[in-house]
């Protein structure tokens, strides 16, 4: 197994593991917190001509800590008729899927938790574990709204898993690899008809794929306009209805952390991930270690920027749109997204062979 070269490869295994766990926690919680503050607290407020939280810390920047403190103080209630063990485990399952997702995300040439060749495949597989958690939550709550919400979530997430997979296949075909790190490197070192000014981010050729991927992400994250599983005006927050205290907090964190991780993945697949076009500073993939180390620090920041832009769009859509109805969503997934993404794959394959 490759290790975190940036921290030195000769650390003992336990130390490496510890570092990975800490790094994973940071990689999940930091973007989640930033997204919540920046978009949920501030951008949404501005879009609704108000200021949002202003009391806790300068411009309310400590609001999130206040909220976490509030949630931690609350009683952990589980309904009498709930299936207690499943009920308690459900939020953790959802959060777990986020952590598993972040494990394959490369943040720099050497800054990654693990690097393996079936990265895309693994990513798509573990992202659906959260569905399981949501279904567990909905089923075990012994609440009709939760049940409806859970079942809607299951139906919806399965319907959108497919367009997501299919939209990613285009990228895989073009890159010729399923390794996320390779995909990043390829995008930044390839050239467009001999011109290498901006590398070759796949959004240029896979625009449709990118659009479908983002729509599928929106649905996967159950953000408006695909938030029927939560649907606070119909199902009173659906599968989260019965949760309180830190279990709700975990759902909440998972929601925004997953948004962050999916935005990371989208930026890897379509926007060139942690890199900027290598030609800008003459870097070859097997280049000098000096620049490597710079990229190990700068890469995460570049990626964070790309992620913020993408989550910004996700949230912007969320704050502007009303939601679909369940059957309309299914129709949209099966009748529009899947055929379009299949056509996209075909065209990509044909062009790949042609060029």
């Amino acid at each position: 197994m490759t290790s975190l070269a940036i921290f030195g490869a000769d650390l003992p295994y336990w130390a490496q593991s510890l570092l990975r766990v800490l790094g994973g926690a940071v990689a999940v919680l930091l973007p989640a917190g930033t997204i919540v503050y920046l978009f949920l607290f501030k951008m949404m407020s501005f879009m609704q001509s108000r200021l949002g939280p202003m009391e806790a810390g300068p411009y309310g920047s400590m609001q999130l800590f206040a909220e976490v403190g509030k949630w931690l103080q609350k009683e952990d209630i589980s309904p009498t008729r709930a299936d207690k063990r499943v009920f308690r485990a459900a939020p953790l399952v959802v959060l777990m899927s986020t952590f598993l997702l972040v494990a394959v995300v490369p943040f720099g040439p050497d800054a990654y938790f693990t690097d393996f060749d079936a990265g895309v495949f693994y990513m798509l597989a573990v992202s659906s574990i959260s569905t399981l958690g949501i279904l567990m939550a909905g089923w075990s709550s012994a609440n009709k709204y939760s049940l409806l919400g859970g079942l809607r979530a299951a139906g919806q997430l399965i319907a959108y898993e497919l367009p997501m997979v299919l939209s990613v296949i285009g990228v895989v075909i073009q890159a010729g690899t399923m390794n996320l790190q390779q995909i990043v490197v390829k995008q930044n070192s390839d050239e467009i008809f001999g011109w290498n000014g901006i590398g070759f981010p796949y959004i240029l050729t896979q625009g449709i794929g990118f659009l479908i991927f983002m729509i599928a992400v929106q649905a996967e994250l159950t953000q408006t306009p695909f938030d029927m599983p939560i649907a606070e005006s119909e199902l009173v927050s659906g599968y989260m209805t019965e949760y309180s205290g830190f279990r709700f907090l975990i759902f909440f964190i998972a929601e925004f952390a997953t948004a962050g991780v999916f935005a990371l993945i989208a930026s890897i697949l379509f926007l060139g991930g942690w890199g900027v076009p290598f030609s800008w500073f003459g870097w070859a993939p097997a280049g000098s270690h000096e620049i490597d180390n710079w990229m190990n620090v700068g890469g995460p920041l570049i990626m964070l920027t790309k992620m913020m832009v993408l989550t910004g769009i996700i949230m912007w859509v969320r704050f502007s749109y009303p939601r679909f109805r369940e059957d309309q969503l299914q129709r949209f997934a099966w009748k529009v997204l899947i055929p379009v993404s299949l056509v996209n794959i075909m065209i990509t394959a044909v062009l790949k062979v042609a060029f």
């Binding site: 501005f46 879009m47 609704q48 001509s49 108000r50 912007w316 704050f319 502007s320 749109y321």
Partner: protein, 170 residues
């Protein structure tokens, strides 16, 4: 014939973005949020705002008209008769009603203003004062001293719009 139509989905995004830009625009340029940060900034209520009822105790003759016309029965008046010095020198001492208790239960009051309207002696006034919340509902029963303190906050009646009939002196 038709202008090319912008999809409604994009227009919607435009509206939210426009509002965000408006909120982020500095106050000097006419931007800013629609909200105010309450305990620090306060909006001034209009002159006619029905915030709280103030009492000018000297004018009250405990005639009970307000208590009787109150739809919610939230005004409680007790009084006693007293001999006051005569108006003219040499006259007989007058019997006047002296107010002992004038309570308004603001937990019951529905701010209809009927009592202020019916008062024939100009003893009750509306004040736009609004910051008198209490932690306990029973504390909302305010007595005549408290009602008298609010007299200071009663504003002058506003000018009337053009075309209005001049107010006759009461």
């Amino acid at each position: 014939m038709q202008k090319p139509r912008i999809p409604g989905l994009l227009k919607g995004l435009g509206v939210t973005f426009g509002t965000m830009a408006q909120t982020l625009k500095p106050k000097k340029l006419g931007g800013g949020a629609a909200t105010v940060q309450y305990p620090r900034e306060k909006e001034t209520p209009t002159v006619r705002a029905r915030g709280v009822i103030a009492l000018r105790e000297d004018n009250c003759t405990s005639c009970m008209l307000c208590a009787r016309s109150c739809p919610d029965w939230c005004i409680y008046i007790e009084g006693h008769k007293e001999l006051a010095p005569p108006r003219r020198a040499g006259g007989a001492p007058r019997k006047v009603n002296k107010l002992d208790r004038f309570d308004i239960d603001y937990a019951l009051c529905m701010y209809c203003g009927i009592c202020v309207d019916v008062c024939p002696f100009d003893a009750l006034f509306w004040s736009p004062e609004y910051e008198y919340s209490e932690p306990k509902i029973a504390d909302l029963l305010h007595d005549k001293t408290k009602l008298g303190e609010w007299m200071e906050t009663v504003p002058e009646a506003p000018e009337l719009e053009a075309g209005a009939e001049k107010k006759k002196g009461k």
